[in-house]
């Protein structure tokens, strides 16, 4: 019956509890590169993995359903189409009908003039995701460059850059976002994303600066300098890879706040405006119809929450994965199970 491999000769002798702890310790470090360790820890973070899958599913859904750029879509309606209203008041056709679950032609319902809710939400999610990604990339880049320069060169430059950062921080993000939103107009998600990036890099810059301030004093930096590396090379080839954990984690959290910021601005009418569609803009447009057509309000909100929640969880998982102090704490049940297993094994070796 036993399919377990034959026991090592000394395994029965070791104190079971200690062995369990050792095994966990050993598993963390057994000849793995830093990247592998981080990846492994991340893969083990259940919340982050589920979120990653959900996010991937959302991205796949929104890119393939109504098409995006050159990607063809399989959904029959465009978000601009005015279709004949199917159900009374445009109610969703998705649901349990005639004993079975049906999607129908308008699963997310329609608005009062016949726009397809599903296509609208897909388009809105595309725009909001675009803003999120662009803000994530661009403001991370700005933040990293500013923080790296300030932390590496210190002195005057540091003072100057940090006072400038303080200045940007003093201006409430929603305010400058709104002003820039008015400035660039509700033209496209790209311009809005650029505008938002110009104000949301500050936290990243501070964190990267902190990392650089400590890392630049380390021996490997001296070694690189003695070997003749230029400042730029030391900054980006030697120090930056060591700060990558902090940067990635904060980039994720930044993206989560970016999607909330974009939707909030679009909701207030300073972000993406009609006829273009974004999730916040949808909620803004349909909140008055909430009592009569709640589905127009529910779905965009649900997508915002889902995306923000997933990104936040992925960020949490990444933070745990990059944290060297993080150790996997076995639950009491896991410990008890391991103990029982050891006890059984010991009993078997004793009887053998």
């Amino acid at each position: 019956m036993s399919l377990t491999p034959p026991l090592e000769p000394n395994e029965g002798i070791v104190d079971p509890a200690e062995n369990v702890e050792n095994a966990i310790e050993m598993k963390e470090v057994e000849g793995l590169s830093q990247g592998r360790i981080v990846l492994r820890r991340f893969l083990r973070h259940r919340g982050a993995m589920i979120s990653a899958f959900v996010l991937l599913a959302v991205v796949l859904l929104v890119t393939t359903s109504i098409g995006w750029g050159f990607i063809p879509g399989w959904w029959q309606y465009s978000y601009k189409d005015l279709n004949p209203i199917v159900n009374a008041g445009g109610a969703p056709t998705m649901g349990f009908q005639d004993g079975g679950f049906t999607f129908g032609s308008h699963p997310f319902g329609q608005d009062n003039v016949g726009h397809d809710g599903f296509a609208l939400v897909m388009r809105g999610t595309q725009q909001s995701l675009t803003v999120m990604l662009v803000v994530g990339l661009l403001s991370t880049t700005i933040g990293v460059v500013v923080g790296a320069l300030a932390g590496f060169f210190r002195g005057r430059l540091d003072d100057l850059l940090m006072r400038f950062t303080d200045m940007i921080i003093t201006i409430p993000v929603i305010m400058i976002g709104a002003i820039l939103g008015v400035l660039v107009g509700g033209a496209s998600p790209w311009s809005l994303a650029v505008a938002l990036s110009l104000v949301s890099w500050t936290n990243m810059a501070r964190l990267v600066r902190g990392q650089f301030l400590t890392l630049r004093e380390r021996e490997f930096v001296d070694a690189a300098r003695v070997a003749g590396a230029s400042n730029g090379r030391i900054m980006f080839k030697h120090i930056l890879p060591n700060a990558v954990g902090v940067i990635i984690v904060n980039a994720t959290l930044l993206m989560a706040s970016a999607i909330l910021l974009e939707t909030a601005l679009s909701y207030l009418g300073f972000g993406i405006n009609s006829p273009e569609v974004s999730l916040g803009q949808l909620i803004n447009e349909y909140q008055t119809a909430f009592a009569t057509r709640p589905w127009l309000f529910w779905w965009p909100g649900l997508f915002i929450v889902t995306i923000a929640l997933c990104v936040n969880f992925i960020g949490d998982g990444l933070r745990d994965a990059f944290d060297p102090r993080q150790r996997r704490i076995p639950t009491n049940r896991a410990l008890a199970k391991a103990d029982a297993r050891k006890a059984r094994a010991a009993a078997r070796t004793a009887s053998a």
Binding site: R163, I179, G269, I283
Partner: protein, 538 residues
């Protein structure tokens, strides 16, 4: 021991976010604190000036005050445009206009709104109190509740409760403010008001709520399986009983606590506060807390006469008196450690005073809710008061509360999560420190270790966040204010921006920016005051 202290201290010094200490050697001479304060104020003023410049430039590029005139079909279009250009001085380059604005600022003139003609100072003067009214309660409650939940979650690390709180705080993080607010309007106001028409809780909901409270309490209290089942059963029965009472007697239509209710809840508060601050073993503390409860209950009837011509000052004064009575009672009980009894009794006295106040406000509920302007739908969705409603102090207070309740809940939901995360993380960090082990090793009870040794130190990181959040909430309530039509700072900002009215926006920014900068300085000093390893003055 000495070495660990120094290494840790130097660790704190080299921390990049502590510029306070880096400059320490620079002004070791006389009055370093003042020098530091002066330097910080100066650099903050420069930062603020730069920021106002940026905002002014952005505004002058972003806002086109001539927009409506450009598309106008009025026959005297040119003249109108000329008049507005002269009014707003648009021929002058924005940079020079900024310095004009700055010059006027130093004379105390913030300009005026060209749309409405009102002075910006007047606009701010009416918007600030309104925002403070909205934000103050929610910030306090969010901090209190967030810290409490975070602490419990840290003490029950890796339990189901902890995981649930973590998950919940992530969900709250991810909720867009406008979505929450609209949902609250639907369920909190319309749903609850509909429910009030016939306030009977259906048995299914009663069962669900009772079971949920059982699960929550048993996981909060924790302990062995036996204890868990007992606390589960007790809280299910208690909740079900309470809900049946509320539903059966129509309590929600005419709520009151009564002398008996105040006495019962007061005794509960007394035990709870004593258990937390002194431990139930400290009989003097317990008795002094119970005595204040007795005094409060005895004063219940006389106070009703004092409440007839109530005003805000009377209530605040009575609150101060309550604290004083608590302190005196605690002092009178004496003992080796008077301060503990005094503190516990004072907190209890304040709690009982609050109960009496709540009871008095509840007394006008029925009259309020049946008033023609309210028409049985007491929870308001917009504005800060019911127009045309007149009544005494109590009716006005209740009216204010019913208008505040939804925006307050919305703000709490948004900011609550971050406090939970912060306090959980910092308590966990503190609980792993050596001195906690020492405290346990010398035989202190877990309560003393947690409340005296761990909790206080866990609050230090939080003290650096709270001032910034308070400052930020003045600008962050933009969405909440808009949805609930609360005419505070956020509304002032939004309306002015939409009306392409630059001066009020600048006024708004000046207030929020100054608060933020000041909060940053406060943070530095609070941090130095709380953590002796970091020094502004040495």
């Amino acid at each position: 021991m000495a070495t660990t202290v120094t290494t840790r201290a130097s660790g704190a010094r080299s921390a990049p976010d502590a510029p306070v200490t880096a400059r320490r050697s620079w002004f070791r001479s006389a009055a370093p604190t003042l020098t530091f304060l002066g330097r910080r104020l100066l650099s903050s003023a420069i930062v603020l000036l730069g920021a106002t410049f940026i905002v002014y430039m952005l505004l002058s590029f972003a806002l086109d005050p001539l927009e409506d005139l450009r598309t106008s079909t009025a026959p005297n279009k040119e003249a109108l445009i000329d008049a507005r250009v002269r009014l707003l001085d648009l021929d002058t380059p924005p940079v020079i206009r900024y310095f004009k604005w700055l010059g006027a600022l130093f004379t105390g003139d913030l300009g005026s709104s060209w749309v409405s003609g009102q002075q910006v100072t007047a606009l701010l003067g009416s918007a600030i109190p309104s925002t403070v009214q909205l934000v103050a309660a929610s910030t306090l409650i969010a901090i209190g509740l967030g810290v409490l939940v975070g602490i419990v979650s840290a003490l029950r690390q890796y339990t189901r409760f902890d995981y649930s709180v973590t998950f919940l705080s992530f969900v709250l993080y991810s909720l867009p403010a406008f979505w929450v607010a609209v949902l609250l309007k639907l369920w909190g106001a319309i749903g609850f008001n509909d429910f009030l028409a016939d306030p009977h809780i259906p048995p299914m909901w009663l069962a669900i709520i009772s079971l949920a409270s059982g699960v929550i309490w048993s996981s909060v209290i924790g302990g062995s399986t036996r204890t868990r089942w007992i606390s589960f059963a007790a809280s299910v029965v208690a909740t079900a009983g309470l809900l049946t009472f509320i539903s059966g007697t129509g309590w929600l239509l005419d709520p009151s606590l009564g002398m008996l209710g105040i006495a019962a809840i007061g005794v509960g508060i007394a035990f709870g506060i004593t258990a937390l601050t002194a431990g139930l073993g400290n009989r003097r503390a317990l008795y002094s807390a119970l005595t204040t409860v007795a005094i409060g209950v005895a004063l219940y009837v006389p106070l009703q006469y004092a409440f007839v011509n109530a005003s805000t000052w009377l209530i605040v004064g009575l609150g101060v008196v309550a604290i004083g009575v608590g302190l005196v009672v605690g002092w009178a009980f004496g003992g080796y450690d008077r301060a503990i009894s005094m503190r516990g009794a004072a907190i209890t006295a304040l709690g009982v005073g609050l109960l009496i106040y709540v009871d008095r406000v509840m007394a006008v509920w029925q009259a309020y809710s049946n008033a023609s302007q309210i028409n049985g739908r007491p929870i308001a969705t917009i504005g800060s008061q019911t127009p045309g409603l007149s009544g005494d102090y109590w009716v006005e207070s209740l009216d204010k509360f019913t208008h505040l309740v939804l925006p307050t809940i919305a703000l709490i939901l948004i900011s609550f999560a971050s406090y939970t995360r912060y306090s959980r993380a910092s308590l966990l960090e503190v609980m792993n420190q050596d001195y906690i082990r020492t405290a346990r090793a010398k035989g202190l009870s877990e309560r003393v270790v947690t409340t005296r040794h761990a909790f206080r130190n866990a609050l230090i990181p939080l003290a650096t966040v709270v001032p910034l959040d308070i400052a930020a909430l003045f600008s962050g309530a933009i969405i909440t204010e808009r949805i609930f039509a609360w005419s505070g700072m956020g509304q002032l900002f939004l309306r002015s921006l939409q009306a392409r009215d630059a001066d009020p926006v600048m006024g708004y920014f000046l207030v929020t920016g100054t608060l933020l900068v000041l909060a940053n300085i406060v943070v530095d000093f609070v941090y130095a005051a709380l953590d002796p390893r970091i020094r502004v003055n040495s």
